[in-house]
């Protein structure tokens, strides 16, 4: 049965052969052959996917979502570094 569209991120490529996807909902993981990923896929990119009988049926890169998450991650790491800079300067 084909399921509705979901979002998943390419958490890692293992041994150059397998891609581990982590779904946005529930942190479920799915391991698929890298050949099933869209052209240009890299670790850390988000995909809009459809599953059929638990297998990956469709996958499309979602570069907008990837950029959104990237911006949030960059901001949060910058806040951590800034917090440390302030502590080292004797601030709070």
């Amino acid at each position: 049965m084909t399921e509705g569209k979901q979002w998943a991120v390419i958490d890692r490529i293992v041994d150059g052969s397998w891609a581990v996807l982590v779904f946005e909902e529930g942190q479920r993981q799915l391991t698929v052959p890298v050949g099933k990923l869209p052209q240009g896929s890299r670790e850390g990119m988000w995909l809009a996917v459809r599953l059929k009988d638990g297998e990956l049926a469709e996958a499309e890169l979602d570069l907008v979502k990837t950029e959104e998450v990237k911006a949030r991650i960059q901001l949060k790491r910058a806040r951590l570094l800034e917090r440390m800079r302030q502590r080292q300067q004797g601030g709070t």
Partner: protein
């Protein structure tokens, strides 16, 4: 066969003898926690607790293990790299235990798992540091030496940015490699960093991507430990790595087979313990190892049958039972005429008559 079986039993006796003893004063215990297909190592010594990586998402093994050991606080949480099988339970660790400091490489991964980890660090009071090769930190008698990544811009390849650590306690050294691959291993050898270690944690769960020969020669370990889940999707640990270690005479222990593995040292000598006393040691082989009924551990008593091929045999017999040992050649990858001849000459593998009751 007798020699190999004896060696295994002896190893397990050594493991069992040290298991369960309390953390003595002046002793460092390094716990390679069984987190399935992931990684988490706990270092507990006099006055310090350090956690290197925190298992896979979807599990609770790390928090459960720390709770069982009555860990009250963590001085340092090291995140070797942001893949989910290394940071999966890190946010929960930060929520459940006071963590004084967190180390990461600085590589930004655009996953929810990594974002939750950053949120948890921000919500905690932990210090944050991105160390580089050459940095050192002492915790009592323990010295942590950072081997990777080098200073300068981080590589775009996450595994090349892995935090790699050498931990030295008295005369005993441990190497923690994360998922560093052969390219990084060879670079470290080239830079001439101190790599020698008594206990080597094999890179990338024993994958062929790691454990280059020149790196193994430079580390020159007494023994190697890997963390992997039984019958994982990737065939870790890979046969090439196990063969390389075997040729070098380096014994290897995996969490898939032994459960949580604990190395204890007073800085002069060390002992090895396994939380599960070794399922092999409790198994009596009744004449031969039946391809259709033997456990995953028993199957590995057969020559040329390692963790991955044992899984293949178990999958194949679900589809159709083996009718003869000869079928290994046609049904199991990597078993050709030469290896089949070795297996038959060893005489351990058999196919018992199927009982039609």
């Amino acid at each position: 066969m007798r020699t190999r079986l004896l060696a295994l039993v002896l190893a397990l006796l050594v493991l069992a003898s040290a298991a369960g003893s309390a953390l003595a004063r002046g002793e460092l215990a390094v716990h390679y926690i069984d987190v399935g297909q992931g990684e988490a190592v706990l270092l507990q010594g006099p006055g310090f607790t350090i956690l290197i990586d925190a298992g896979n998402i979807g599990g609770r093994e790390v928090v459960d293990y720390l709770t069982r050991l009555e860990v009250e606080a963590i001085d340092l949480l090291v995140v070797t790299h942001p893949h989910a099988d290394h940071i999966g339970q890190a946010a929960e660790v930060l929520r459940r235990f006071p963590v004084r400091e967190v180390w990461m490489s600085g590589y930004e991964h655009y996953t929810r798992t990594f974002e939750e980890l950053l949120d948890a660090v921000l919500d905690s009071d932990a210090d944050y540091f991105e160390p580089r090769a050459g940095d050192k930190r002492s915790y009592g008698e323990l010295e942590l030496q950072v081997l990777n990544p080098p200073t300068g811009n981080l590589s775009r390849n996450m595994h090349e940015t892995c935090l790699m650590l050498r931990a030295v306690y008295g005369q005993i050294a441990f190497l923690f490699t994360g998922d560093a691959e052969q390219r990084t291993e060879k670079a470290l050898v080239g830079w001439g960093l101190p790599l020698q270690a008594h206990i080597l944690q094999l890179g990338h769960h024993g994958s062929r991507t790691s454990s280059a020969l020149e790196f193994l020669l430079a580390v020159d370990p007494d023994l190697a430990i890997y963390s992997a889940g039984a019958c994982n999707d990737y065939g870790h640990p890979h046969e090439e790595v196990l063969t390389r270690l075997s040729i070098l005479g380096i014994p290897v222990y995996g969490t898939d087979l032994y459960g949580t593995i604990i190395v204890r040292t007073d800085g002069e000598t060390y002992s090895l313990a396994a939380e599960q006393k070794g399922r092999l040691g409790e198994t009596e082989i009744q004449g031969c190892v039946d391809l259709n009924s033997a456990s995953w551990e028993e199957l590995q008593l057969i020559i040329h049958i390692g963790p991955d091929r044992a899984c293949q045999i178990m999958e194949q017999r679900e589809t159709r039972p083996f009718r003869s040992v000869d079928e290994l050649q046609s049904r199991i990858s990597g078993i050709g005429p030469k290896r089949l001849a070795d297996i038959k000459a060893q005489g351990v593998a058999c196919v018992k008559e199927v009982n039609h009751d």
